[in-house]
């Protein structure tokens, strides 16, 4: 793996990815509007209920949505890059694998920041989500989740030959994490074995961190975020191994 990072090339990759996204207005609109709409729908669902349904679920969704969306967007975009020959061309140029991966992570991280800022803003100021901890920390968690989604998307794109296959990885990798992350049943109330599994899944930590920030005035999320960041780095390193300059 090429470990040197060239800021010039990394930024060029990030700018190019953002430029492509800007050209694709419909995708961009969906990226920004959809998360807000889903949170609003959740609020509406609970509008006739008493209790803390929305309050309990919204933080988890704020963690989940950027993760899922960026996973999908990245896996399809990088797959396209692999199949169109542009990746091979780039790897035949003086481009480090890290430049490529960090360029993508930077671009989609930036999109995720805007996406999450909108979703968090709408949740707090319009839908009345009560956040005990600092709002900025909520954003940090959301962006880290999105970058995790990007890293995993980059990784799985290596195992798909077509966009159809890439999209299938979403239910395969994401839905089990969604079920076990504490959204439906608190993780400690899961059967022992499933609890152990949920301890090994990154989304569990992301949701734990989100929930902590929204329910505690002085949330301690360092450990959770470190786990999410660790998974992200691991996925990027594995992703770099799948970027082969030489293929059979």
């Amino acid at each position: 793996m090429t470990t040197e990072i060239s800021p010039r090339i990394t930024l060029a990759v990030a700018r190019r990815v953002l430029l492509q996204l800007r050209r694709d207005r419909r995708t961009l609109a969906m990226l920004l509007v959809l998360p807000c709409a889903i949170i609003a729908l959740l609020r509406w669902m609970f509008s006739a209920q008493t209790g803390t349904g929305f309050q309990g679920l919204a933080p988890a969704l704020l963690a989940l949505i950027p993760f899922v969306v960026m996973f999908l967007v990245t896996s399809v975009t990088t797959l396209r890059e692999r199949t169109s020959g542009t990746l091979e061309r780039l790897l035949a140029m003086p481009l480090g694998k890290a430049d490529f991966l960090f360029g993508y992570a930077l671009a989609f991280g930036a999109v995720a920041a805007v996406q999450s800022a909108l979703a968090v803003g709408v949740s707090i100021w319009w839908l009345g989500l009560d956040v005990s901890g600092p709002t900025w920390l909520l954003l940090v968690v959301a962006v880290l989740d999105a970058v995790l989604g990007t890293a995993l998307g980059l990784l799985v794109s290596a195992f798909a030959r077509t966009e159809f296959q890439a999209v299938q990885f979403m239910p395969a990798l994401v839905i089990p994490q969604m079920l076990l992350c504490g959204l439906f049943i608190h993780r400690h109330r899961l059967p022992g074995f499933l609890h152990a599994i949920s301890n090994c899944l990154p989304l569990s930590y992301a949701v734990d961190a989100m929930t902590a920030v929204s329910t505690r005035t002085n949330p301690r999320v360092g450990a959770d975020l470190a786990v999410v960041a660790g998974f992200t780095v691991a996925a990027l390193v594995l992703g770099a191994l799948t970027l082969r300059r030489r293929t059979a």
């Binding site: 050209r23 694709d24 091979e88 140029m93 300059r245 030489r246 059979a248």
Partner: protein, 237 residues
């Protein structure tokens, strides 16, 4: 280490149970346009990928500009155009070139020069996805020219181009070669063979001809390259 821009010795590529290249050896001098010919599926692309350094090979060695193919230091000195145009369809011609220019670290001035070289100045603000097939391959070619490469490897760059443009591109290849570059061009259009300084003909992964077009005609007694080509292919099978 040899000083030839491209030196291939005993190259063998086995893909699964299929032998894609079998004991291919040749050297080419600088400043020539070399035509790589052969029926489709004969191993032309595999050979080109080996030279560019993106192909895993089983046996033999490939050295480019005195270094093993695929060396990091070669990446800015080789221009490579794959068969399918490897450019971003959702970006304009200019945006594509500026991106690759940024990766290579070449100037905006060079982007303009390359756009002019492939005659796409009028299309520069158009999305690549909206261009015709020939125009798309020219965008891909322009990207390969950006770094002013010493070795240019072009996999069927003239497919789908009209005769006028094809002639202009061949003139461009010769200008680059006259300036000292080594240009390796694959084609399955035989009349293009006469435009090359030297011909390499592959058949079922084996190199069966390594001659000038004139010598090929003479040795086969044929009047045109197509007939000569058929003669050597039949003789080899």
């Amino acid at each position: 280490m040899t000083t030839s821009p491209i030196a291939v010795a005993g190259l063998g590529v086995v893909r699964g149970r299929v032998t894609a290249l079998d004991d291919v050896s040749f050297e080419v001098p600088a400043g020539q346009v070399i035509g790589l010919l052969g029926p489709s599926g004969c191993g032309k692309s595999t050979l080109m990928r080996s030279i560019v350094g993106v192909q895993k090979f089983t046996r033999g060695s490939v050295s480019v500009l005195g270094e093993p193919a695929g060396s990091a230091s070669l990446r800015s000195r080789i221009g490579y155009v794959t068969q399918a145009p490897s450019v971003y369809e959702d970006l304009t011609v200019g945006e594509n070139l500026r991106f690759f220019a940024a990766v290579l670290g070449v100037s905006a001035q060079r982007v303009e020069e390359c756009v002019a070289l492939v005659d796409l100045a009028r299309q520069r603000t158009q999305l690549v996805g909206r261009l015709s097939g020939g125009q798309r391959s020219r965008v891909s070619l322009a990207v390969a020219l950006l770094g002013d490469p010493t070795v240019l490897v072009l996999d069927e760059p003239t497919v789908g181009l009209d005769p006028v443009l094809r002639r202009e591109l061949w003139a461009t290849f010769h200008r680059l070669a006259d300036a000292g570059a080594t240009v390796l061009v694959s084609s399955h259009v035989m009349d293009e063979a006469t435009r090359c300084d030297r011909l390499l003909v592959l058949r079922d992964g084996r190199l069966i001809v390594d001659q000038t077009p004139a010598a090929l005609l003479e040795s086969t007694g044929a009047h045109d390259v197509e007939t000569a080509f058929l003669a050597v292919v039949e003789a080899a099978s």
